[in-house]
Point group: C2
């Protein structure tokens, strides 16, 4: 078993067009192949404000698959440690041997999550985008913009975060890295007012975006909710949207935005699409420039398998050079 | 993260009384503490005659918990590789950091499974045991006898296995290691006829032990069934038994002997006990010498956490010496 460190992985895996298309293929495979993706395994340790998740998926046609352990320990800031962590195994589907341990501390999850946002926006958002809004200013907000830049050539970002210091760093980093201008807003409503695409990247347990703020033509990607108590969108947004797309409906109805939407009786699940339905047919479901579209992303084991395979290939090629 | 090899683990962890009591405490904890043990995560790859299982359990009071990946790739013999494999992580329940990777290739699973058999026999079997019968002659048959020897001083073993070569090796190994005599039988009925305790350790998908063969006073431990298509016991055995004990009822009704028993309408689930119910009260439920008792063991994440904690402690102490 080969072991790769976070540093090696960060050096060899950076967001690019290939990764976005690999993650797109994960969604297509989920819809067209007999992918073996069991429900997320979850251990909650509320006494430490913590959770550990396990995801996996075997995708026929690949000789290996990933098994990922990811953790969120939200008291870690008191210990001077990062809140989130994780690692992935690449396991041979031929003989069961663990081929590689990708000890990435969650980096590959950040990359594959951002790539999913870009895939969703690519299929759902209007083509001509100038302004992108972001709620939240953590690592995932940065990665989402970086991936989105691969599919939409926006020039301006508006951002709101409750954490003032973080949002200033965010502005500096994004302006330098993506060569766009960033404006810090006082609240989420101002962000919604100016944005053609809105990305919510918070661990919020109550809506951060209200339906009355959403302008015609907006695409929204909500990627923060990944637990049965999290919610970023007022469920009326899903009700008013022309198109609602989930990464995987069975996951989103347990831990995504679909969950509160169904509970409130505001969403007809049979009208919700899965991302693989549209990527497999290469059809963009937006019917007009004024349509409102929503992507509800909870993160799938199939994405983990694709990014682990990609990372391993890069790392092994690097070792050969 | 510290990484320990199978060789280091085998050197430092061998079946003993302490391990049996640690595994007993796993069952007690399952019954008396708020153990967080999600259902087994399973990936089936039938095209390669293979399966991968993930088990975990957080036990309050311990600062770490195990997450185990175990695999069965039953075509591996064609590749000259062992069929089963696996590894365990020990993860901090305080900060989420992976503390150790126990790369044991399934050895610790063998040990904790054998220890569970010994715990069950200790609470269920008659005290005075001369003859133990085993169906199957693989690694787990050996470990079960080794662990059982810690709780019952038997002098003779009778064994039946379909694999002739394996059973001859088994006889030689067990006679040397446990200082008991071993007789190879032609079929399972002969084993049942002579045994006071019977242990079934096969991957069978149909019963290997029939109810009409079971003598009064017998204790049976069935540990082979761990999947929804496996079965070692004729379900009439569970029906006729005075006491039926599961490691965890919710697991056994999915992948243990309880499953076919319930499906056939032969077992009243409400009369089945969990091992933790009896270990926590230190009460032996056998009411007479002639009672028939059955333990249905599928293997639990709580056992994995206990054995991983024990192994880590041994390995770290070893490193200090």
């Amino acid at each position: 078993m080969q072991i790769f460190t976070e540093k090696e992985i960060r050096t060899n895996v950076t967001i690019n067009q290939t990764i976005i298309r690999e993650i797109e293929s994960a969604f297509t495979d989920l819809f067209t192949k007999n992918v073996r993706m069991p429900p997320i395994m979850r251990v909650d340790i509320p006494e430490n404000n913590a959770e550990v998740d396990v995801k996996t998926a075997y995708i026929p046609g690949h000789e290996s698959f990933a098994l990922k352990v990811s953790s969120g320990f939200f008291n870690n800031y008191k210990l001077g440690l990062p809140s989130t962590g994780g690692l992935m195994f690449l396991i041979s589907a031929v003989n069961g041997q663990p081929e590689a341990l990708l000890y990435d501390n969650g980096y590959l999850t950040d990359v594959r999550t951002a790539a999913a946002g870009a895939v969703a926006a690519d299929y759902l958002a209007n083509e001509n985008i100038q302004v992108v809004g972001v709620i939240g200013a953590g690592a995932q907000a940065r990665y989402q913009l970086e991936a989105l830049k691969e599919v939409r050539n926006f020039q301006h970002v508006v951002v709101f975060s409750k954490t003032k210091k973080r949002v200033i760093e965010f502005k500096e980093e994004i302006e330098e890295k993506l060569a766009v201008s960033v404006t810090i807003k006082d609240n989420a409503e101002q962000v919604a007012n100016e944005s053609q695409i809105i990305i919510t990247t918070t661990p919020s347990e109550e809506p951060v975006l209200r339906s009355e703020w959403i302008k015609p033509g907006t695409h929204i990607t909500a990627m923060g909710a990944d637990a049965p108590y999290k919610q970023e969108l007022d469920s009326k947004i899903l009700q008013m949207a022309d198109v609602v797309v989930c990464d995987v409906i069975t996951q989103c109805e347990v831990c995504g935005e679909l969950r509160p939407g169904i509970e409130a009786g505001l969403i007809d699940k049979t009208k919700v699409l899965e991302l693989g339905q549209i990527t497999s047919k290469k059809i963009k479901p937006r019917l007009s420039k004024d349509a409102i579209t929503v992507a509800d992303l909870t993160g799938t084991g199939a994405q983990d398998t694709k990014i682990a395979l990609y990372a391993y290939q890069q790392l092994v090629n690097e070792a050969k050079i």
